[in-house]
């Protein structure tokens, strides 16, 4: 066996050294050639839409109409003018987005971490439980939303029925009153997506060298001290990623409220993306919708910068 593998291993080494030589020969074009497929997609699906969206937001843009009059910053001004057709609904939607984000992100950061810590421990059936927690994430939003819409229905659903069986209040209108609708939307979202963050945490936990824990134990650190001084610092780079990712995902919530509450009871759970889709794709006011999405984008950029700043490496700050 070892005889057959060693020549092929040598061959692999030989071929690996060939491109290195060619890279020098080709010079500067090579990295760009490697980047080309990605750049092409990036340009087509990110750069062009971003620029085109900006251009649209300066027009009264209905793609089915021949005339798309230039209106300058009017679409933006309208968003900040009380009483215009777009400002009221947009800021209400932004507020809904903020409520959902503030309510869901802490749960989506903490619960998956607890789950990951559990999953990282050694116990029989561990893989089964890993799968159980990750499974909902595999489902599409339509499946999740329709499933929970029926479970949470206050008059015919199982959730209230079982709450009643347990002697708890069983008349909560989970989908047609606030704040219950927010509890339902956040709860369903956490149940649905916690597996993703948990998997990332789990991978990060497994990257923390066992020697660090060993050394900590030698120094007499308890479980909590190990968590604070070994686990958390080890997770910090991942934590930045998970936080920003979760913030953006939560701020982009759309399907859950679209399918579960239809933005209701009235318009309370209509998020910004929901309103943008309604305005742009159903009402064909793509200029207004583009302006809305740029304002949302600015908020998200601000938020991401804040998170980076919070999680930045503070050299010399400790010890």
């Amino acid at each position: 066996m070892s005889q057959t593998t060693s020549p092929s291993g040598a061959g692999a080494l030989a071929t690996a050294s060939a491109p290195a030589r060619r890279l020098r020969d080709h010079g500067r074009a090579t990295p760009w050639l490697f980047l080309a497929p990605y750049l092409l997609l990036f340009t087509g699906f990110v750069v062009i839409p971003v620029v085109l969206g900006l251009w649209m937001s300066l027009h009264q843009w209905d793609y089915t109409l021949p005339l798309k009059p230039f209106v300058g910053l009017d679409n933006y001004v309208d968003l900040f003018t009380p009483g215009s057709t777009t400002s009221g609904i947009f800021w209400q939607a932004m507020q809904a987005t903020a409520i959902f984000t503030v309510a869901s992100v802490p749960f989506l950061l903490v619960i998956p971490l607890l789950v990951a810590l559990l999953m990282n421990a050694k116990f029989p059936g561990r893989n089964f439980f890993r799968a159980v927690y990750f499974a909902p994430y595999v489902l599409g939003v339509a499946v999740v939303a329709v499933l929970w819409r029926y479970l949470l229905d206050n008059n015919i659903g199982l959730v209230n029925y079982y709450l009643g069986v347990l002697g708890l209040p069983d008349d909560t209108a989970w989908l047609t009153s606030t704040p219950a609708a927010w509890v339902a939307l956040v709860g369903v979202t956490v149940w649905w997506t916690l597996g993703f963050n948990a998997i990332i945490y789990l991978a990060a936990l497994q990257d923390i060298p066992a020697e660090l824990y060993e050394a900590a134990r030698m120094d007499g650190a308890g479980r909590w001290q190990q968590f604070r001084n070994v686990t958390l610092p080890g997770l910090r780079p991942i934590l930045t990623f998970v936080t920003i990712n979760t913030l953006i995902a939560s701020a982009n919530m759309f399907g859950q409220s679209y399918l579960m509450t239809q933005g209701g009871p009235g318009r309370e759970t209509r998020t910004a993306i929901y309103q943008i889709a309604e305005t742009g794709l159903r009402n064909f006011q793509m200029g207004d919708a583009a302006a809305m999405s740029y304002i949302l984008t600015l908020f998200l950029i601000g938020l991401s910068v804040a998170v980076f700043w919070l999680f930045r490496e503070r050299k010399g700050a400790r010890k």
Partner: protein
């Protein structure tokens, strides 16, 4: 050279938007003798109506050697979002069917073509249709839709519950309706009439608004008028059903219909397209026209209408016209989908005999349509639906939620008028 200049002329006509009508292929002769074509046919019949449409398409294909029609069925909501995009990109269908209230928007966007020349050839005239359904196919003085059917709200009731409560006849007015609710409650059916906050709540609201003598929108599409006295009466009546305990509080999406199918509630108002579904469920039920609560007999209704999307291929257009004509002539088969055929001659021929929707079709003359103004469907979704939900849920006073929604609706309608330059 001739062909080139013809194309140029078409292009000029097309680019002179808002002015003359775009080309609609050759004159309709009722026959298609061109080369073999395969037509793509878009529709939104995803429910119990789908199989009936497919049967009709299959029969058409059998009878026509040189035309093959391929159905593409999708949810109506997707349909209305996709159609303008597809046609604009030159990837649209060759023929399709849509609700009349979308014809105006799509005509104004030049997604669909006028069909006036077909009407004469088909021998279609206003005489063969009820006035409302015929007018519903027109926008801006031109015909864009060939009516296939009328579908309205209907009252469904559980015949077992009715028998237990000693009710022998379907209620027809407010007095008998309220008496029926009381009798049902007395018989142990505590919440006999669930009031939905969302769909079909706004259809119930419009029905009642008309019954109380109102009109949700101005006919010319210039303003919303659903917050006037009759509108407030309508919404107060709906909320009253909840306040008086006939309906549970906070009925969520779809719950009203599911509860009816489960025998948890005795009466529900929903579209006649539910007949096949209820038939299949095995529930002991019957259908009747919506009772006259407000004083004037009327029921919300809509109509599926065939349309021709804008495209360049004359052969396809002509073949599509043959398809539309054939479908219109065979609309009695469509009665199997629980719809009411739009043509009076088909109705007179007894197409509805023994069909569950027959009693509802008797109220055809009192069925009411919203105006065909562009964008009216979206206006309803954005404003009226939300106000009705708030009112039914008790989140606001009927008068004030309607007032607020009406203001925004009028704003949107004014914007639409400006956009479409009427």
């Amino acid at each position: 050279m001739l062909a080139a200049s013809a194309t140029l002329a078409t292009a000029l006509v097309l680019s002179a938007c808002g002015g003359g009508a775009p080309s609609t292929g050759g004159e309709f002769t009722g026959e298609y003798d061109g080369p073999e074509v395969t037509l793509s046919f878009w529709n939104g019949f995803t429910g119990g109506d789908g199989p009936f449409m497919q049967q009709m398409v299959d029969q058409f294909n059998e009878e026509h050697d040189n035309i093959t029609v391929e159905s593409n069925t999708m949810q109506w909501a997707d349909f209305y979002q996709r159609l303008p995009a597809a046609v604009t990109a030159g990837e649209g269908p060759d023929v399709g069917v849509m609700h009349f209230d979308q014809l105006g928007s799509n005509a104004a966007r030049q997604v669909i073509l006028p069909l006036d020349d077909m009407v004469d050839e088909l021998g279609l005239s206003a005489d063969d249709f009820t006035e409302t359904v015929w007018e519903a196919g027109e926008y801006d003085g031109q015909r864009y839709g060939i009516p296939l059917d009328v579908h309205s709200l209907a009252m469904y009731y559980n015949t077992e519950h009715f028998a237990a409560a000693g009710i022998t006849e379907a209620p027809t007015d407010e007095a008998s309706f309220m008496a029926a609710l009381d009798a049902l409650q007395a018989a142990g059916y505590e919440t006999p009439f669930w009031m939905p906050a969302r769909w079909p709540g706004h259809l119930m609201f419009m029905t009642l608004d008309w019954q109380f003598g109102g009109e949700p929108y101005a006919q010319d599409g210039s303003e919303a008028t659903f917050a006037d006295e009759s509108g407030v009466q309508a919404l107060e009546w709906m909320r009253g059903i909840v306040d008086e305990g006939y309906s549970p509080e906070d009925v969520a999406i779809d719950a009203q219909y599911v509860a009816f199918k489960n025998g948890e509630t005795s009466i529900t108002w929903d579209g006649i397209w539910q007949f096949n579904d209820l038939e299949e469920s095995g529930l002991p039920y019957a259908g009747a026209p919506i009772p006259n609560i407000g004083g004037q007999e009327s029921t919300w209704a809509s109509s599926h209408q065939f349309f021709l999307p804008r495209q360049d291929d004359e052969n396809r257009m002509n073949a599509a016209k043959v398809f539309i004509a054939w479908m219109s002539e065979h609309s009695e088969d469509w009665a199997g989908a629980a719809m009411i055929p739009a043509r009076q001659s088909v109705l007179d021929s007894g197409a509805l005999d023994g069909m569950p929707q027959a009693p509802i079709a008797e109220a055809l003359d009192s069925m009411r349509f919203t105006p065909t103004a562009p964008g009216i469907g979206t206006v309803t979704t954005e404003t009226l639906e939300v106000a009705v939900a708030d009112g039914v849920l008790g989140a606001g006073e009927p008068a004030s939620v309607l007032e607020e929604a009406q203001g925004r609706a009028t704003q949107l309608m004014e914007e639409n008028l400006a956009t479409f330059g009427q």
